[in-house]
């Protein structure tokens, strides 16, 4: 038969079949990309992804709550006692070994910027506002499942796996930080 290619037994139809199914498969995969991608953050959400905070009015021992990417952000000015306490801890004994200096910016070691999001399951820890429980280590305490953070926002006790996240930020002037 004319359709048969005698030598290797491959028919024209086999080629057409594979070509057609491949084209349909690639086309189908091309349609999946927009369908998946449309659920990712849209341009207006990404446009809100940086926040400025003025830290000049924060007194030592005080903290303020700001909003970064629709989540609470804690900005705290540490007292000398809190700094000393954070520095006195044996770093190797911590669940996630970090010094206070690693968690702050040089020259502004008293400004601690962390996400107000417990690394266990995402609750907002207490301790930022006046009169809230600060936990056994004097920093933050998450009431959901009892995670205790120290004055440098490091996990010391409870189920949370890591320290409170320090977001990317920089001092854009003496008194203003830009997060994100």
């Amino acid at each position: 038969m004319a359709e048969m290619n005698g030598e290797d037994g491959v028919r024209r139809r086999d080629f057409i079949n594979i070509a057609a199914v491949s084209a349909a498969g690639i086309g189908g995969a091309g349609v999946v990309l927009p369908l998946v991608s449309q659920m990712a953050p849209s341009a207006d959400v990404l446009a809100e992804s940086s926040t400025e905070v003025d830290v000049s009015a924060i007194e030592p021992g005080q903290a303020i709550k700001a909003i970064f990417r629709k989540q609470p952000l804690f900005v705290k000015r540490l007292t000398q006692a809190e700094i000393d306490e954070a520095n006195s801890v044996d770093v190797s004994s911590l669940r996630e070994a970090q010094t206070l200096a690693e968690r702050t910016k040089e020259g502004n070691e008293d400004i601690l910027v962390t996400m107000g999001v417990c690394t266990h399951l995402g609750c907002v820890p207490l301790g930022a506002a006046e009169g809230e429980v600060k936990g056994e280590y004097g920093g933050y305490f998450c009431p959901c499942h009892g995670s205790h953070y120290d004055t440098a926002g490091r996990i010391r006790k409870g189920p949370a796996p890591t320290n409170l996240e320090v977001p990317e930020y920089e001092f854009t002037s003496e008194t203003v930080i830009t997060v994100g």
Binding site: A20, A24, L33, P34, L35, S37, Q38, M39, A40, S42, A43, D44, V45
Partner: protein, 430 residues
Amino acid sequence: MSFPWARQYEPTNGFMKFLDERLPLPRLVYNAVGAGYPVPRNLSYMWNFGVLAGFFLVAQIVTGVVLAMHYAANAEVAFGTVEHIMRDVNWGWLMRYAHANGASFFFIVVYIHIFRGFFYSSYKAPREMIWLLGVVIFLLMMATAFMGYVLPWGQMSFWGAKVITGLFGAIPLVGEPLQVWLLGGFAPDNAALNRFFSLHFLLPFVIAGVVILHIWALHIPGSSNPTGVEVKKESDTLPFHPYYTAKDGFGLGVILLFFAFMVFFLPNTLGHPDNYIEANPLATPAHIVPEWYFYPFYAILRAFTFDFILSAKLWGVLAMFAAILVWFFLPWLDRSPVRSGHYRPLFRKFFWFGLIPCMVVLFICGGAPAEEPFVMISQIATAYYFLHFLVILPIVSSIEKPEPLPYSITEAVLGEDEDATLGATAAAKA
């Protein structure tokens, strides 16, 4: 169901055998759209459009579900969320243009599907139920499309909602309270927008349900075919897979080329610029028309300009609904025993030179402004439309002399059929 020579599903491995004995879903697919469904071997490309309509229903549901993830049905923000979809959502422009043009393509393929049915009398016994369910699907599509067009809350959305719900206001006595009830207010507002969104989301799934009934009913006698001669034996048929999956797949590829062209190069051509202006209850657009797929019926609505016992407004509304409801009676209006227009010389003339030009004229008038000469032309075309279905079709079908039919589909395809020759020889001997 199906013909005795239909191939039987045989599970090829242990797992499929296990599944087949407990939940025979692969068997159902095999018998419905697989090698186990014998189909007339002579189907032309006109028989692609059912599958294409099914494809566009699915495409509309997929893109629609995506759009609903980003849209808010609130009169305060609806217009803004559509712009948000167009500008901010990843690929949102593609989803919205595919959905808007997908609606047009859904109607294109369904109109071809319906007119295929008209020409080949696909509505005749034993397929009346398939036809009736199809008309139900078409009515549901119209309602769904109309409500979808309201959701962007542009000027055409708003005034379309007002005009179409105004149709119900024409009904004597209960009309006005009915319109207020439908809108949940005295004009389209938040209440109307919310219920339209809710129903626009619901109805496609109702359509999908009726489509399943439509296909179920189809699979009892099997597909009709271009000769209109029923399947007699195995040589009249081919298995659906791979023969018609391939043919439908090719047709799908062709229509997707046109679809992609519209989505990517002419995405707003079938829409109205006025709908990019936010709804304003205090100003009506100068030239208000529905989407193109409603033009013929819109022309019929506007054709009635004079009171005659009932008000002109009510006549228009009745005629518009009757123009579709008359399709329900088609299986009993066309009394000819011959199905295919290919063998019906007189019917064929009235189809090509009567019904089709009439629909084209109504289409043009529906999109034209409501002024002369379009009003008079719509009136003549409307009169012909009803004359065609209610008078011409019954008369033609009883007086025309059909041309000789082939003995079988096999004979129509191959030019001869052994069984027919044998039968003739036997008859000659006797």
